[in-house]
């Protein structure tokens, strides 16, 4: 699971046409290398994928006759597509809530702990630096094995963490939270450190308690960061694939298969690239909806604050 942070959009200055043209001339030249790569590796494949979703193309690139919307029709009538889409949504909800709340909690804790701060920062952020394969194998081979795993050994239980449809998704979420909470933690910590100290001083003079300060200063001042974290987290969680593929392969009984793995399964092991493209575009639409909702949300906030 990787998180990409979009660069802030440059707003064109409302200036004279003369100035604008020269910006275009120089600017285009500067962004040309990026644009070239962007078009070749993002725009073009996106369009190609859309085209593929209307054909029955296989992994060898043959059999690419146009089939209209039949891939989409098949996908909407495919219980496993719905199941995997549902799994992705369940994972998104189950992981986003603790990842945001825990990130905030840890940041507050570290911010207020005034000794060996670097150690806390390192401990909470450390797992985020591990590649998904390392994290998955660590949990799969050492923590979750039912017979000799650390978790059953510590708790004295006998749970098939990844083998039982009832616990598998929770286990995946637990691993993910441990792995990626550090990123949200870091964003919150940075935001906490940029809250002006004088607000707290003023509050202290007014006799505010620690709880009042948290409720009336800290949390409101973190509002924008929270919005950012929630959106980044939603997008990252919707893209879940690595750890589930590596830890459960989508099982048991399809209880954890996310929609990206379903697209991978029908495309790369089932050799049906056309159908896999259609499934991918269903997720694509979902992500676009979330992004649009986020844009609206941010715009409203901006209006309110201005």
């Amino acid at each position: 699971m990787t998180t990409t942070v979009a660069a802030p959009a440059t707003t064109a200055p409302a200036a004279k046409a003369q100035v604008k043209r020269s910006w275009t001339q120089h600017g285009l030249l500067f962004v040309a290398p990026f644009l070239l790569v962007y078009v070749a590796f993002l725009v073009w494949p996106t369009l190609l994928g859309l085209r593929m979703s209307f054909t029955d193309v296989n992994i060898a690139g043959s059999n690419d006759r146009f089939v209209g919307f039949s891939n989409y029709a098949e996908a909407f009538g495919d219980p496993r597509m719905w199941r995997s889409l549902w799994n992705t949504l369940v994972f998104t909800v189950l992981s986003t809530v603790p990842l945001v709340l825990l990130g905030l909690g840890l940041a507050l804790l570290v911010h207020n702990l005034r000794f060996v701060q670097w150690l806390w920062r390192l401990s909470f952020f450390g797992p985020f630096l591990l590649p998904s394969a390392v994290v998955s194998i660590l949990w799969l081979q050492m923590i979750y094995p039912p017979e000799y795993g650390l978790l059953n050994g510590t708790l004295g239980t006998d749970v098939l963490w990844l083998g039982d449809p009832g616990t598998a998704m929770w286990s995946v979420v637990l691993t993910t939270v441990w792995w990626t909470v550090g990123f949200n933690f870091l964003l919150y910590l940075a935001a906490l450190q940029s809250i002006p100290q004088h607000l707290y001083e003023a509050a202290a003079i007014d006799g505010a308690s620690a709880w009042d300060k948290l409720r009336s200063i800290t949390l409101p001042m973190l509002g924008r960061t929270t919005a950012l974290i929630v959106v980044l987290q939603l997008l990252a969680s919707l893209k879940v694939f690595d750890q589930i593929y590596l830890m459960t392969g989508g099982g048991p009984e399809d209880a954890t298969r996310p929609i990206i793995e379903y697209a991978y399964d029908v495309g790369f092991t089932g050799y049906r690239i056309g159908y896999a493209s259609a499934v991918s575009y269903i997720l694509f639409v979902l992500i676009v909806i979330v992004s649009l909702a986020q844009l609206r949300l941010f715009r409203k906030r901006a209006e309110v604050s201005s």
Partner: protein, 443 residues
Amino acid sequence: MQDPPAITRRHLLGGSLALLGAAASGCAIPVGLGSSQTRVKYWHFLGASDGIIMNQMVGAFARDNPGVFVEENVLAWGEPYYTKIAMAGAGGRSPDVATFHLARLAGIGAGEILDPINVDLLAEVGLRAADFSPPIWERAHYQGTLYAVPFDAHPMVQYYNTDLCGRAGLLGADGKLRPTTGADQLLEQLRKAKEVLGGKPPLVFDALGLGTVGPWRVWYSLYPQSGGTLLSEDGGQVTIDDQKALEALRFMRRLGEEGLCDPTTDYGASVAKFTNGEAAFLWNGDWEVTGLKERKTPFSMTRFPSVFGSGAAQADCHVFVLPHQRDRDPEVERATYQFIAYLVKNSADWAVAGHVPSYLPALQEPDYLALQPQSEYRSVITDVALDPQVWYTGSASRLWIEFGGAFSPVISGERTPEEGLANAKAALSRLMSAPNPFPAEER
């Protein structure tokens, strides 16, 4: 508030360059071969202890053929292997030869992903149709064209610990396991072994885990014994006999319920437990012989027990295929056929790995007949249950993984046999209704 650690632009650039350098040197392809050698790229997935034998055979070929360098590339077994073959064949820049499972031939798009075998070149290196087991040779064809050179068959077999079975009084006067017939005799045998083990499950097999296919292998050994089939001859109709299918599943559940098999062992754990003498029986393919011998486990092997009638056992076959290449170098091609012929003609060496040769002359060789315990189960070769010949079957296919996933919770009791069968049948009908990615009429 603390300042963030200062990273100057120079540091960043220097660091990135160092990283790039490390990445570049890590990707370098090992060269260092004589320029006069013909290089044959060979992919296979033989990662169990049969991989040790394959590596020795490739080494032996190199000693006998100094003009050819075989670059052996061992990839992970299973679905990812077949994805890689498909991708390599689709791109046309693929390995010169690859090991493959015979039952996957119908689903790979032979003709697109795989190139046909040149029968003339094959004759030139001394291999003819008459040299191979006829049903296997026939299945190496797809729509009348030969796409694979058969190498072996690898049935499900029963490994048994001679020490534990001896203490349980299960061995005959000749020191071999007394064969059982029917469910009751097998259960009785397992109960005796359980006593010797102090109540621990005496039987292990791949019963659980990521993409497990073990439950399918066991079921497709038991179910065909009573004459059960999956699909009609043309692959168009489901022909599962519910009574017989449930009978086999209930038997598997009973093994789990009575603690006669361990439902919590995955593939690795099942082999490890048997190797360490923590279990008296292992149901697995025939490929773990070498590893068990190396670790000095006191063991022997025999045919999969007959429970419901015949002595059928699930099996697939290893074959050699030529993934599609846009430009095949004639010299490399000749060397490739030489290499294939060398391996096939030395099938008796390969049989050391446990597999039953499909090259008939090897079956008569005294070397093979003297192999112990590998020749103990060779009679199964007429009773093997191969997958139905449709596009979604074969080793590590969707069918295996779906059925494995449906039956694994039956063994542990999380699902009833009826639920397991219903899930498997639902999966089968999904697979049947999905379109073949390589439709036959295209070619």
